[in-house]
């Protein structure tokens, strides 16, 4: 077995027990690993209607086969579970070095079941697997947890090779907006997962190992990777933008195109973009680049130690943070956004979900639907201090902030204005306005994981025109396009690759790397087929959990209120018009259900008899 280690650790926290299992080659071939494998296990092993916070839910950490091999950007570890925020399937992507270290521990996957009696830490250090009592870690922030664990090791050099993922106070308190932190980076797409980890009383997982990952054709692999590194290095968008500013380079661009939302998506143009552009960013944070394992792009920006305010702590805000915690809450001061982002990291809150929730609360307050008394908090658009205070209280469930912590949808409903929730399937939208980005809008409604661009990077072509010149406002050809990008992303995630290299490379460029590493002879189309299989399995999970066409809709604002001003003035989302076409292209019926005949062509079976053709 190349790339894969073929081994899985199954931990049952209720029984305080674990066992090692083999993963069959057949499963690997069919689902690749990473996200695909995790989805398959979750689909087979849990009842999709289960309460996400009950011991019956499972939490799966799974690295892809290319992780740890040196394949460019082969770093990603996926976390799969049933989300505590939406009730759909959830998949977070862990960045940094945890995924690779998991492979060096001789494991592809950890399956966590049950619930520990008291807080524990799972420690997998040089083949010694221990479920350690973790009471003294409970209540600690994520960086405190990491430091405490590392200083508890007798050998300080071993501590340097140890990688840790943990939840913060938000996850412990079962706040459904909680996320997971590893290596000082918040996972992306992790809203609702931190709470699941908290419900299992699992505070952290530490890994360190010295197993090797083997590669089928070492010589060819080294050649191919060398070429790809050089290609990425000369791709203008990567070397000039992504490597310098991280995703924050998109801020100015999206603002110019009327995509960047302001004040809970009430408008999509912001005239003082100088305040939030890349220059402002580097002067506020003095950026320092950090890369995930084996990544030549290094899009992650830390603050520099010489920065007087942040002193090297925390991440500089990304596009997501600037959009969701900043502008969408009306906050244009990057320092405040940076502090808010850091609090999210320390407390283990998801910036997009938490930002979206606060933006909703702010709109409720702006419209006079929320009195100061009802939440005992000031939440005014544009007020950074309000934001910072709310985040801390939310994470610790202190006072009335408990109610905001339930998420934007619950809050909007509680105050009788569900239309002010800007999200899909209970998950707030990432800061891309679906009115001025039609493909993204269609992806938002159809995504198995809620409205997150992470599962289909349509803006590569709709905004940046990298592979194709697509008009962001047209709906023509978008259903095919969205399906294609969704499937490709499923493949990338399952292999354990980051998606950013596709800003400088074509998917085809990666195929020789995949094959020389795994000893396979895939063609790009074969892999897309696997992507399609994974997407359909995720859909089946959600259908069985009770989701369907009725949930594939955007908030009314995007359909009925045209963008008022700015470059995309007059646009509305036409995602609903494209939905039938999309279902059709996917091979689904008008309710968005794959039929059993179609599933057979994908070598899938639905587990109940409901999905007739």
């Amino acid at each position: 077995m190349y790339g894969w280690t073929g081994r899985c650790l199954r931990v049952n926290l209720t029984k305080n027990d674990f066992q090692l299992e083999e993963i069959s080659q057949e499963l690997m071939n069919k689902f690749l690993g990473g996200r695909g494998l995790g989805v398959k296990i979750l689909y087979d092993e849990i009842d999709p209607t289960v309460d996400p916070l009950s011991p019956d839910n499972k939490l799966i950490f799974v690295s892809g086969p290319l992780v740890g091999t040196g394949a460019v950007t082969g770093a990603s570890c996926n976390v799969i579970t049933k989300s505590a925020l939406s009730g759909t399937i959830a998949c977070a992507k862990l960045r940094g070095h945890f995924g690779a270290e998991l492979k060096y521990s001789g494991l592809d996957m950890i399956i966590v079941e049950g619930k520990a009696e008291f807080p524990v830490i799972l420690s997998i250090m040089d083949d010694k697997i221990v479920i350690k009592p973790g009471l003294e870690y409970w209540g600690r922030t994520t960086s405190e947890t990491e430091n405490m664990f590392k200083s508890s090791l007798s050998d300080s050099w071993a501590a340097r090779d140890t990688y840790l993922l943990s939840i913060g106070p938000a996850g412990e308190k079962l706040v459904p907006l909680a996320n997971i932190m590893n290596d000082g980076f918040l996972s992306v797409g992790g809203a609702g997962i931190g709470a699941v980890m908290g419900s299992k009383n699992l505070k952290a997982i530490a890994v360190k190992g010295n197993h090797s990952v083997t590669i089928a054709d070492g010589n060819r692999f080294v050649q191919v990777v060398t070429t790809l590194i050089n290609k990425l290095n000369t791709a203008p968008l990567i070397s000039q933008s992504v490597s310098s500013w991280g995703s924050a380079f998109l801020v100015g661009l999206c603002n110019q195109k009327g995509i960047l939302p302001f004040k809970n998506f009430q408008s999509s143009s912001f005239d003082k973009s100088k305040h939030i552009g890349t220059e402002a960013l580097s002067s506020a944070f003095s950026l320092r680049s950090r890369g995930c394992f084996a990544c030549p792009i290094a899009c992650i920006k830390k603050t520099d130690v010489n920065n007087s305010l942040f002193k090297g702590k925390g991440m500089a805000p990304t596009y997501m943070a600037i959009g969701a915690l900043g502008l969408n809450c009306g906050i244009t001061d990057l320092t405040n956004t940076g502090i808010a982002n850091m609090i999210c990291g320390e407390m283990g809150l998801d910036p997009v979900a938490a930002g979206g929730t606060i933006a909703t609360a702010m709109e409720l307050e702006e419209k006079g639907l929320l009195t100061k008394d009802s939440l005992k908090l000031d939440l005014r658009f544009g007020n950074g201090e309000d934001l910072i205070q709310a985040l801390t209280l939310m994470a610790t469930k202190k006072g009335y902030a408990k109610r905001i912590g339930q998420g934007a949808k619950a809050l909007a409903e509680e105050y009788g204005h569900p239309e002010l929730f800007m999200g899909v399937k209970s998950i707030p939208l990432v800061p891309f306005d679906p009115r001025s980005l039609q493909g993204m809008g269609l992806h938002f409604v159809t995504s198995n994981y809620g409205p997150h661009h992470l599962y289909a990077y349509t803006f590569f072509d709709e905004v940046l025109n990298i592979h194709e010149q697509l008009d962001p406002w047209t709906t023509e050809g978008k259903p095919e396009f969205v399906k294609r990008v969704q499937d490709i992303t499923a493949v990338m995630d399952s292999l354990g690759l980051c998606n950013w290299p596709l800003m400088g490379l074509k998917f085809n460029n990666l195929v020789p790397m995949i094959n020389s590493c795994l000893g396979t002879s895939y063609k790009a189309e074969d892999l897309f087929r696997v992507g399609e299989r994974i997407w359909n399995l995720e859909r089946l999970f959600n259908l069985r959990a009770g989701f369907g066409r009725k949930d594939d809709i955007l908030p009314e604002r995007f359909i009925n209120e045209p963008i008022e001003d700015g470059p995309a003035k007059g646009q509305t989302s036409r995602a609903d018009e494209m939905l039938n076409d999309y279902y059709n292209i996917r091979g689904w019926d008008e309710e968005g259900r794959p039929g059993s005949k179609f599933l057979k062509t994908l070598e899938l079976e639905s587990r109940d008899g409901k999905n007739k053709d």
Binding site: G68, Y104, S212, V213, V222, R288, I297, A298, G312
Partner: protein, 124 residues
């Protein structure tokens, strides 16, 4: 003489150098513990360090390494493998590892895969 210059301010901590070294010395095997270069992380700074000679006793006196207003452990950039710092020793064999300036000239393997400019081949 050709040498590898290390600029820790540019290092992103991606560890492609470690894997390049491992793959180049043990065919088809990716394992940072078999690399003759390791990237040590301390706070937000990464120090790439290339394996030098093996010594069987630790230093008796050490200097402090001061960068900005922070003080670091000198061992972080020391190239030796010693009883104080159990790196650059092959786990299975206990064999000490030392950089042999490998790869296809002109660039050593680690330099070739380092995209940030932290590792650079210089002549002096």
């Amino acid at each position: 003489m050709a040498r590898i210059k290390i600029d820790h301010t540019k290092c992103t901590g991606c560890r492609l150098c470690e894997i390049a070294c491992s793959l180049n010395h043990v065919g088809g095997v990716a394992n940072p513990r078999r690399a003759r270069i390791r990237v040590f992380r301390e706070g937000s700074i990464c120090f790439p360090t290339i394996a030098g000679p093996f010594v069987d006793a630790a230093c008796t006196s050490k200097n402090d390494l001061i960068i900005g207003d922070q003080t670091y452990n000198m061992c972080l950039i020391c190239r030796a493998s010693c009883p104080e710092k159990p790196f650059f020793i092959e786990a299975e064999t206990g064999f000490p590892l030392k950089c042999d300036f490998c790869g296809i000239p002109p660039s050593p393997s680690c330099v070739r895969w380092c995209n940030s400019g932290a590792l650079e081949l210089i002549e002096d």
